[in-house]
């Protein structure tokens, strides 16, 4: 049993990263996609970024998964989103932290994380693949 809230947060964050790495099958991956209503809804970004729909279809977002392993086990890592709008203003958000706090606040984060894993695995609509980013 974990004794402190910090330990609980660290455990959930590490579990999220471990789950994503297992699902995606890679320890480092970057993708760039158009930020649209579908991305916002499927990843629960309405919970994380205020007025997020203002960015819909006027910006792109980059997702980066970076995992550090030791003897095949996930030691640490992070998954972050960078939102770039039309004026190239950037906002970085560490999603494992945000999702963990959402879970602690009683929000079901499982579909969001599953959708994030699917987004990383899906090669369609990725801008860098068609030379647009």
């Amino acid at each position: 049993m974990l004794k402190t809230r910090e330990n609980l947060i660290e455990k959930i964050e590490r579990d999220i990263i471990t789950y994503l790495a297992n699902e995606i099958g890679e320890y480092y991956k970057e993708i760039v996609v158009i930020l649209n209503d579908n991305i916002i809804e499927s990843l629960g970004l309405e919970y994380i970024v205020p007025n997020i729909y203002d960015f819909s279809n006027v910006g792109v977002c980059q997702f980066v998964l970076s995992v550090l392993t030791q003897k095949g086990r996930v030691v640490s890592g992070n998954v972050y989103i960078t939102i770039l709008n039309s004026f190239r203003k950037e906002r970085y958000i560490y999603l494992e932290e945000a999702y963990t706090v959402l879970f602690l606040s009683g929000v079901d984060i499982t579909p969001f994380i599953d959708n994030l894993a699917a987004l990383f695995k899906n090669d369609e609509n990725r801008l860098e693949w068609v030379g647009l980013f």
Binding site: M1, L8, N22, P50, R73, A98, V101, F103, G106
Partner: protein, 165 residues
């Protein structure tokens, strides 16, 4: 009524709880901690949490639990041969996603702007007292329940299984 009077009412009401928390380790002068407030729809409205998230611009927000960080100072006032212990600099912060929101300032001004009478303000402060009291009393149980909730979640279970293999 000026804002600091509302703040004063909140501080006075919460003082017994804050002093009780401090009494667990009286060496501390600065106390900081986090609690989980379990709320229903009515309390979400009464305590202004729904409004707080809407004002900031969130399309969706938690409706069952709020993570609240409290911090305050203890000071001892010498009066003749005895010391009186008092509380000051209370701050309440909502932890949400990747940000921290100054809740006490928001509540103080919202009550000032919306309450029709002092009784309305006192009623809201009583609700705040009740939810914080329950959260402090059940802190261990709630943390354990949340831990179990994670371990029984799809991701928690799968990762535990993966580690065991």
């Amino acid at each position: 009524m000026r804002p600091y009077n509302v703040y004063g009412l909140i501080l006075d009401k919460l003082k017994p709880l804050l002093l009780k928390e401090w009494s667990k380790d009286k060496r501390r002068h600065y106390i900081k901690g986090e609690i989980y407030l379990f709320l229903d729809d009515e309390n979400m409205e009464k305590l202004g949490f729904s409004k707080l998230f809407k004002v900031i611009g969130y399309e969706k927000y938690p409706t069952r639990r709020i993570i609240l960080r409290y911090q305050y100072s203890i000071y001892k006032k010498k009066e003749y041969d005895t010391y009186n212990v008092d509380v000051s600099s209370l701050d309440l912060t909502v932890i949400h996603a990747d940000i921290e929101i100054q809740y006490l300032d928001f509540l103080t001004l919202t009550l000032l702007a919306t309450a029709k009478s002092v009784e309305d303000i006192e009623n809201a402060i009583s609700v705040l007292y009740e939810v914080i009291e329950k959260a402090l009393l059940n802190r261990g149980k709630r943390e354990k329940a949340i831990y179990n909730e994670w371990m029984n979640s799809e991701i928690g279970e799968l990762v535990a299984l993966h580690k065991a293999l």
